[in-house]
Each structure stands twice: as C-alpha cells, then as structure tokens.
Symmetry: C2
Subunit: 419 residues, 2 copies
Amino acid sequence: MEKSIHKPRVVIIGAGFGGIFCAKGLVGSNSHITIIDKQNHHLFQPLIYQVATGFLGINDVALPIRSLFRGKENIDIVMSEVTGIDTKNQLVLTNNHSYEYDYLVIGTGAHYHFFGNDNWQPNVKVLKTLADAISLRQQILMAFEKAEIETDVTIRRTLLTFVVIGGGPTGVEMAGAIADVINYALKYEFRNIRRHDARIVLLEAADRVLGGMRKSLSQYTKKILEKKGVEVHCNKTVQDILPNKIITKDETIEAETILWAAGVRANNAASWLGLPAAKNGGVLVKDDLSVEGFTNIFVIGDNSCLMKKDRPLPALASVAKQQGKYMAKVLNEKLDGREYKKPFRYLDMGTMSTIGRNSAVAQFKIFIIKGWLAWMMWGVVHIFFLTGFRNRITVFLTWSWTYLTYGIGSRIILKNPKK
Amino acid sequence: MEKSIHKPRVVIIGAGFGGIFCAKGLVGSNSHITIIDKQNHHLFQPLIYQVATGFLGINDVALPIRSLFRGKENIDIVMSEVTGIDTKNQLVLTNNHSYEYDYLVIGTGAHYHFFGNDNWQPNVKVLKTLADAISLRQQILMAFEKAEIETDVTIRRTLLTFVVIGGGPTGVEMAGAIADVINYALKYEFRNIRRHDARIVLLEAADRVLGGMRKSLSQYTKKILEKKGVEVHCNKTVQDILPNKIITKDETIEAETILWAAGVRANNAASWLGLPAAKNGGVLVKDDLSVEGFTNIFVIGDNSCLMKKDRPLPALASVAKQQGKYMAKVLNEKLDGREYKKPFRYLDMGTMSTIGRNSAVAQFKIFIIKGWLAWMMWGVVHIFFLTGFRNRITVFLTWSWTYLTYGIGSRIILKNPKK
C-alpha cells in the first residue's frame, strides 16, 4: 500500500483505563488504531482486591480487549510486549514485529516499588495484575487450609497472620476484606481454627491511614478496622522483610502472608523515548499530554507526569480515564486537520475507600460521607463505572449474594495442571 | 476422648460425585465424617470442557467443599493428599496426619491413560482437573493470539491446528466447542486470521464416534461436526505423538494443540489396600460396594470395579452419584446397628452429548433424540444436575448470554504472577 493513501496510524501502548478510553473515542474515526498490550485483557483495577480475597471472580473485573472492540474494523489488537520505540522512523518495536505510527499514545501504567529495598520483593505479595490477585488469593485460602490441619500452635499462628504494609486505599481495603473473610468464613466452615487464632496487622509509616483524605475519615477508618479485629499501627516504619518475617523498630512479626501496598512508581516508558525519568518515574508531559520534543507522542495515566502545583497528578484510575478521553478529542481534531487548543484539566470527582462489609469513607469537594450509606454509594458507583454491561450485572448479583449469605464466591484453589 | 463413647467415624477419600453424595446423605447422622481431598473443591466434571473452551468460568463448575457443608457440624473437611491406608489399625495416612476410621469410603476417581505410551503424555493436554481445563484454555486462546501476529504461513497453520484424540463424549464435545469458538470468535474479533486458516481434527480408533450410542446418533454427530468444519477421521489409530506433531498411518499432522481424550483408568486405590488392580485399574467390589476381605471399607465411582455381565460399570458421573447415595443408605443403617440388605443396582438414566451450539444427541432406554431439542434438553438437564443453587443461576445466565451474543465469556489469559 502506498504511504500517501494510508489512513493515519495511531498506536496505543497499554490497554488500561487511559488506553481503552482513548481507543473508544477513536472508534470509527478516519484512522487505523493498533492497541498493543502484553495481556489479553483490560483490568478494572479498583476491584482486584476483591478478587484477591475471593469476593469476585476473574471475569467480573477483567474483559478481553478484543471483546471490547468486537466488530470495530479500524481497531487492531496485538498481544505482545513492547521492547522499544524508534522515534526516528516512527516505529514501536515488539518481540515479533514493529508497528509504524503517525501518532503514538503511551499508557503502560505503574508498578509497586520498594524505596530502594528491592531485596524485599521476593518476600512479599503485591496486587497489580490479575495474576497477582489470583496468587494472593491462593495463598490466603491455602493458609486457612494448612492452619486447619496444623497442630503446632506457633506454625498455625504464623499461617494465620496477615500483614499489610501501607495504609492507603489498597491497604485499607485489603485489611478490611481479609477481616471479613476471617470473621465470616472461619465461623461456619472450619472446625479447628477460630477467630482468635488469626491476626491481621496494617502497618502505615505516616501518622494516619488514608493520608489523602480528611483526618476525621482516617480516624473513622481506623476505628472500623479495629472493630473488625485489624491491628492498625501508624507511625510504624518497616525495617526489614525476610521470608515470612517482618521487622519493625519494636516488633518482629512472623507471617505467612505479607502484602506490600506502599507506593507505586510509573513504568519506565521514558527510557523508550531516550528521556530521563520524571519525578514519579514516568514521562514528563505538557498540558496537552504531549512529550517535550515530539508533537505526535503522548503519555497518559500513571505513566505520565503532569505537574500540578509542583506535584505530579495522582496515579488514579479517574485521572487515566479523563486523560484517555481527552487524548481521543485531541487526536480526532488532528485527524481532521485541526488542532485541539484546550489543555487537559483534571476534574476531581472525589475519592472513596471501603473498609469491608457495611463501611466506607468518601470525600468530595463539598462534603464527606462515611458508614453504611457511603458503602452503598461506593457499590453503586463502582458498578456504574465498571467496564462492560455484563460485568455490571454479574458484580451486582455476586455482591447481593455475598451480602445476603455472608459467603464468598470465588474460592477455588488451582493446583499446578498435570500435562 | 475414650474410644467407647466416640461417635462412629466415617472417612471419605475424594470429594467427587460419589464422595459428595455419600457425605450429603450422612449430614446430621450420629457419626463424625471426615472428607479428605487434595483439592479444595468439588468439580462438576461433565462441564469442564466448557471451561477449557471459555464458555464457562471456574466458579460455574466448581464449588469449595467447605461451602457445600457449611455449618454442618458433623462434617470435617481436610485438604490433604492421602499417602496410604493402614487397614490393621484402621487409619488413613496423609502427608500431615493420620485419620482413624470405623468406616472408610474411597472414591478417588480416574485419570487419563495412554495404553502403554506414557512417553506421549508430555506432548498432549488432558482434561480431568480444573487446572487442566485452565491450562488448555490458556493454550487455545494463546494460539489465536500468536497466530494473529504470525506472518509465517506454516507456523500460523500449526498454531491454528487442533487435534482431538478420542471420539467419545469428551472428544466430541471438545471438537464441537473449539469449532464454535473459531466460527464465531474469529469472525468478529481478529483481523488477520480467517476461518480457513484453522483446522480441527477428531481422531477415533474405532469405526465411529460416540461408540456407546446407537449407530444413527454416531452418524448424525459426525455429520454435524463436519458441518461445523471439524475433520472427523474414524478407524484412525495414533502411531506416535511428538511435540506439536501427531503421526497416524497415512498422515503426519503438525498441531500446537493436541488433546488426549481416549480412555480413562481408575486411580490406584487398590495398592493402598494391598490388593491387585481390577480390570479397570480400580478396586473390585461386591454388590454392596464393599471390598473383599473388609466389612467396613467401600469403594465407589470410577475408582471401583463392579462387574456387570463381565464388564465393569462405566466410569460415569451418574454411576458415582448413585453409588454415593447408596453408600449413605448402607452407612446410615449400619450406624443405627442394622444392615442394609439390598445390593446396589445402577439405574441407567440415559446418556447425552452435545456437539456444540444447537446440536446434541441423547439416548434413553425407550427413545433417542437429536438436534436442537436434544441440545435444549441437554442444557436443562445439566443445569438441573449442577451442584449448588447459585451455580445453576450463573450457568443459566451465562449460557443465555452466550447464545444471544455468540460471544464466549471466560477468556482471560493469566500470565505468571510477579511476586
């Protein structure tokens, strides 16, 4: 095909919130879109902690990228890993092929990082991908199974100790959900282990949990977690993490399950572009989300670093989503030969966090809300924002079922397959 | 606790259809039941081929054993692997502990076997456990993804060739389901691969598929499979299986996916009892399902060998289920100090097999049925027999959705988790 008659090619790397909403906005446009992702699915990250604790199943929170764009002829999906970008020849390089672009959108997200203590990584679980969630769930469920038949009291205690590091939304939600699992599941389904055999510890280095929210909500969250049986320790820095052991200034905790939920860093797309990493590890972008020195390369979501009052915009799903939508507007204008003049503005819609069954906190510009009503609101909002019509129904049904029965529905342990 | 006052202990090894229905019949009886299984779930095996092809999810076909017996105080669940049986001291031995029994029920099922060609095993997939199903699904889905970006025509052809060995119900159902996936999924969601790039081959050593059914149903099944694009080869013996290659007398087929569905053999519980393996590899039982030489040891399901006119009863879910129910009656009588005199009689309720969307065959004592009506009937029967109320709802909803949209719902590929 001759270059002169080809449709403009847009390559989107990463099918997270940013990439998906950008592509959605370009469906049917006069362009050829290629979405490259190393996974075959878009993940609704705000709910993966529910997969890790057995409340939801895989299909509730993940959608095949192909099915999202089923029948959309101008959108190609490539499941492959990007190895680099040749900006001179406008090529995205993967293990298998290279893909030409006229416009490039990068949204490859972030990963957990360890503040210089990468040696801790093998000793903790993280919760970023769906595979992480399944692996964590497997570990939590197996801990109960092993403890049920363990006669050594010390080993049993270690099996049933769950330490969550980081009191942000993920840490709070995980600690609350693990407590729910223990409070309800143990009660009816195990004969030998009892509630008081289990210990859940939430460690936060700052002086309160949910530091991004108002103080009163942090206090409320701590109170509810403690009521559920979670030990909440603030001002507690981790000194070292060994296998099944975590050391703080005044305590050494032996725990089968240690979850690291203490801070993310952007994936290193900057190096693909030959740029230094920005403050958050990502790529510094201008307020039209383009990268300095390139008029046709844009970075969105957790991967980008858009400075607002000397701080990068937070790594939130809502930021990525708004940037993806904005990106589509910019590109649609460009494809029509015009320029979109408005800069990107993040509209803060508020933040929410559940603390397990019946409790949540939410903070909006003009009001805050907590307790059962906030929890219901959290549920409604998350069902509304879920990607995919069918998922909304299944999540609604699953949650209703869980609420009524106190049971958790996704608890199958998969051992290694025999060939 | 003194021996004289303990409740009679029943140990059930294996939570398949036999074990579960036996335990259900003993809920609330004057006994202490221990169910030992190496998995944490009961699996509805007749539908795992739908998990392997993405039509159903894990939670649709599997239920945690604990949740099946939630709140049933006389039933203990142990997730552990049995290593042997000490019949002299009446102990079941596991990796961790030993469990005393007064009555022992063994139902550990069967596995695929290779008629003396165990070297083929690493080169094929099988479909027995849930992990097998997920592994097979992953392979099938990845084959499409790899083929979509593959430019070498020969490699692409190998990726998209699926060989199923064995024309019994599992083989027929798998071949039909893979054809449905290809016929519908490829059409709307892939841009580079087309229907004619794919090849599905069903190999059967005998002169017809579904050899257990009437000839007319075998012919109909072959016709429908061929209409869906499956190559059905009868009278075709496999000579060798190498990695991605299968050799028959007159053809060598290169295929990424080779599924072995040609015959099962009972798991070797006989050796636990110091007995020789019976004709089907299992334990020869009398018509009260007890083992020669023991009055308190019983074997049920695929694991048992109950001779009927010189042939063992077939390895079917319905046999296992009826034997489990019978077992509970026998034990309930024994627990009450009586003897149950009636021998076990298998009541043949008929057999069914789907051939994919819109077609099935079914054979009952007095009539046969095929086509769309048989397919609907197959669906209704399987929803009715599914274990668990909730699963019935989710499977019904999922199937309705699949029927209306031509989409398949469970297609998430899980890569290895990062720690």
